[in-house]
Amino acid sequence: MLQTISILLENKPGALLRVTGVLSARGYNIESLTVAKTFDPELSRMTITVEVEDRLRAQVIKQMNKLVNVLQAADLTDAPAVIREMVLLRVRCPQESRTAVLKEAEIFQARVVDSSVEGFAIEATGDPEKLDEFIDVMRSYGEIEVTRSGGVAMSLESKKLKLQPPVPAPAAVQTIS
């Protein structure tokens, strides 16, 4: 089953690899992954959808939380959350279908970003399921080429972020010869 995980992590080199490493080490296939800075440039937020057996989902979250760079990992699969994705789609359609394609785009609230003799390039955002339908509809009009961004998720519950406070470092040492 597809699990959606939202992770708040430190924006440091290698942090992304650590997170994906936890998943690849266990052989889970990552369906999609997005990551970008938050309003705090030291932190990034990552959304991952990964194919995991139901009974292992809690384990995956615990393994993520173990990572030093990860501040918080949350399972958003069943939680109240908003998930949005973007699709860039190029469709080659014959002359007769051009108006129909534009109409479909309008129905899905998609924007045409490029128009040429061969067809259109269309940008759509929304729920991943809605985008699946959009792609299916467009496929019926001709050859398509698709680039998906992967889902970006945000929890609708406010979870208190538990950050660790600083601890004292070892003090100076007395040397006697």
């Binding site: 690899l17 939380n65 030093v68 406070p165 601890v167 040397t175």
Partner: protein, 609 residues
């Protein structure tokens, strides 16, 4: 020139994460401590190591670590030169396992760093605190396939609890202290710090680090009060309670609490391979080791108990066998510092995430509070349970065969046990000898038994003994190896000779890769493929080549005196003991089987009438 370096800050205060500065007024003699003093990265690293209380570390120099080794030349910290980087990490592990302190090893870039990987994975599997320092090529050459360049940061990422690449000399002190903090707190583990050559050489103003801030690194210590109370209630109500103690007991220093717990409730306890010595082997409540080669009573006890109290352990497949039948009638209390282990293999009825020492202290208090009311409820069932356990123990003790003309491996272990009397440090390599040593040698306290458990890395035993001897110069150290594992560590005989380490190297020599041979005999129709270890060197000549004593024996009547001679020898001693090659380790739980389905001995010949 002898230096004594005293740590004035109690290590435990650091682990409990309290904010108070516990160091008082310090007369700081170390010249580097004047704030803002200009020094090189290499000198800063040494200053940080001293602050962390490192008195001894193990390494092998190379091109990119030259600046570091140059600074080391005029520094008082002790560096032990090994003969292979893999052994630097194993030695650091031996040091860490023998003391509980962070073991430190150092290697150069490229092949030096990659040679550390086995040791790092071993420390990761057994949760041993290690800080590994590796050199890296100059920053501007990184990624250009420079000489002796390897992506150490990438290669060691899955092999470590955490790793760092130092980009500038200004962040070096902070990173080194963070590395030590991560290595020794929570569930301990290996941390690697990769330092490019130009960072070692760069000069900066050294500012002592006051505090360590890792917002995402959570350390759980306390344990939930409600859960602890519920656990205490269940313990008094259990008719067949059973304690399953793992490596976490050793890591937390919780041996006194474990003993208090088992005595308070008068419960049987097993110690896993990683926990031997956590409860004294001579304690009347100790039921030996469980699992694939554990004792009959231990495995039956685990199978038939009604309350399993798992302390600092991870339900590893070697212990549990087939999970569905493991402790099939029991409710489970699981205490561990790593939340990812609790519920990983077995969903506990009472999960308690915390430091097992602290949790046990609170659990014992809760038990004492409930004792007047509930303490005597199940006394009769408990007596019946002990009767059952003692029957199992008496009916199926460990096999201790003897032969007139050949030395049986079990006889060797019994003799070592006699000489150790629960006091010596024993390191083993991996294989049959490791299992027999675990079964038959007693340990009266923690940190005497040192072996590679989770990874099972051959070549571990001898370098680990080196680390342990440096850590505990006062102790008698036995390094028991098989003939296979010993031959993987021969280079370190030079290290032993160089420092005159009085390690007693006992090679249990059956001429085979014993454990693999055992599996081939039992499961592959005795097709012995690539397990014959011929051309073992003459021990007397080999030890003599390194300037110390060696001897080979193969007769049972020589065993006692040869071992006593080895122990009496002031310096190192190599004793090659030729043992019967046909012995198999029993009991044995076949892979994937239930631990109650043990094979107790060789198949008996059937008489055909």
């Amino acid at each position: 020139m002898a230096f004594f370096v005293f740590r004035t800050l109690n290590r435990h205060n650091l682990e409990s994460g309290d904010y108070m500065q516990t160091a008082g007024n310090l007369q700081d003699a170390a010249k580097a401590d004047q704030p803002g003093k200009l020094m090189t990265g290499a000198e800063m690293l040494l200053e940080c190591l001293v602050r962390e209380g490192v008195d001894c570390f193990f390494g092998y120099p190379g091109g990119v670590t030259l600046p570091f080794y140059d600074a080391l030349y005029s520094h008082h910290i002790r560096h032990v030169l090994v003969r292979h980087e893999e052994n630097a990490c194993f030695a650091a592990e031996g040091y860490a396992r023998a003391t509980g302190r962070v073991g430190v090893c150092c290697a150069t870039s490229g092949p030096g760093a990659t040679n550390l990987v086995t040791g790092l994975v071993d420390a990761m599997m057994d949760s041993i605190p290690i800080v590994a320092i590796t050199g890296q090529v100059t920053s501007k050459l990184i990624g250009s396939d420079a000489f002796q360049e390897a992506d150490t940061f990438g290669i060691t990422r899955p092999a470590t609890k955490h790793n760092f690449m130092v980009k500038s000399v200004h962040e070096l002190p902070r990173i080194v202290h963070e590395a030590f903090y991560i290595a020794k707190t929570g569930r301990p583990g290996p941390v690697l710090v990769d330092i490019p050559k130009d960072v070692f050489q760069a000069r900066g103003h050294y500012e002592p680090v006051d505090s360590i801030h890792l917002p995402g690194y959570k350390v759980f210590t306390e344990g939930h009060t409600g859960q602890i109370r519920r656990a205490a209630q269940l313990i008094w109500e259990a008719e067949r309670p059973f304690v399953y103690a793992g490596g976490g007991i050793i890591a937390a220093g919780a041996a006194p609490e474990l003993r208090e717990l088992v005595e308070l409730v008068d419960m049987p306890a097993v110690c896993t391979l990683m926990a031997l010595g956590g409860l004294s082997s001579s304690h009347r409540n100790f039921i030996s080791m469980p699992g694939m080669h554990g004792s009959y009573a231990a495995n039956m006890g685990l199978t038939e108990c009604d309350l399993l109290i798992a302390l600092g352990t991870r339900f590893d497949d070697r212990v549990t066998g087939q999970l569905q039948s493991f402790a099939r009638h029991a409710r489970v209390i699981h205490v561990d510092i790593d939340p990812a282990e609790v519920g990983k293999n077995r969903t506990p009825d009472i999960p308690i995430v915390g430091d097992v020492k602290k949790v046990l202290q609170r659990l014992i208090k809760a038990l004492e509070e409930l004792q007047p009311e509930f303490g005597a409820k199940k006394t009769d069932s408990r007596h019946a349970w002990w009767d059952q356990l003692r029957t199992w123990m008496n009916d199926h003790p460990y096999d201790r065969p003897r032969d007139e003309n050949m030395i049986k491996p079990q006889h060797l272990m019994d003799e070592i046990d006699r000489l150790s009397n629960g006091q010596a440090i024993v390191t083993t390599d991996v294989g049959q000898h490791q299992m027999w040593a675990a079964q038959l040698i007693r340990f009266s306290e923690p940190r005497l038994w040192i072996n590679s458990g989770g990874l099972g890395a051959m070549g571990f035993g001898l370098p680990a003994a080196i680390g342990a001897q440096f850590a505990r110069p006062d102790k008698l150290v036995f390094s028991i190896c098989g003939d296979g594992g010993f031959q993987m560590s021969i280079p370190e005989l030079a290290t032993i000779a160089s420092h005159g380490l009085p390690i007693k190297i006992i090679v249990m020599n059956n001429g085979y890769l014993g454990m693999v041979r055992q599996w081939q005999t039992l499961f592959y129709n005795n097709r012995l493929s690539a397990v014959e270890l011929d051309c073992f060197p003459d021990a007397e000549k080999l030890a003599g080549a390194y300037g110390f004593k060696g001897r080979t024996i193969d007769k049972p009547w020589e065993l006692s005196s040869a071992l006593e001679e080895a122990v009496k020898e002031a310096g190192p001693y190599l004793l090659n003991v030729k043992v019967s090659p046909d012995e198999n380790v029993y009991p044995m739980v076949p892979a994937g089987g239930a631990i109650s389905e043990m094979v107790l001995g060789p198949p008996q010949p059937v008489a055909v009438g």
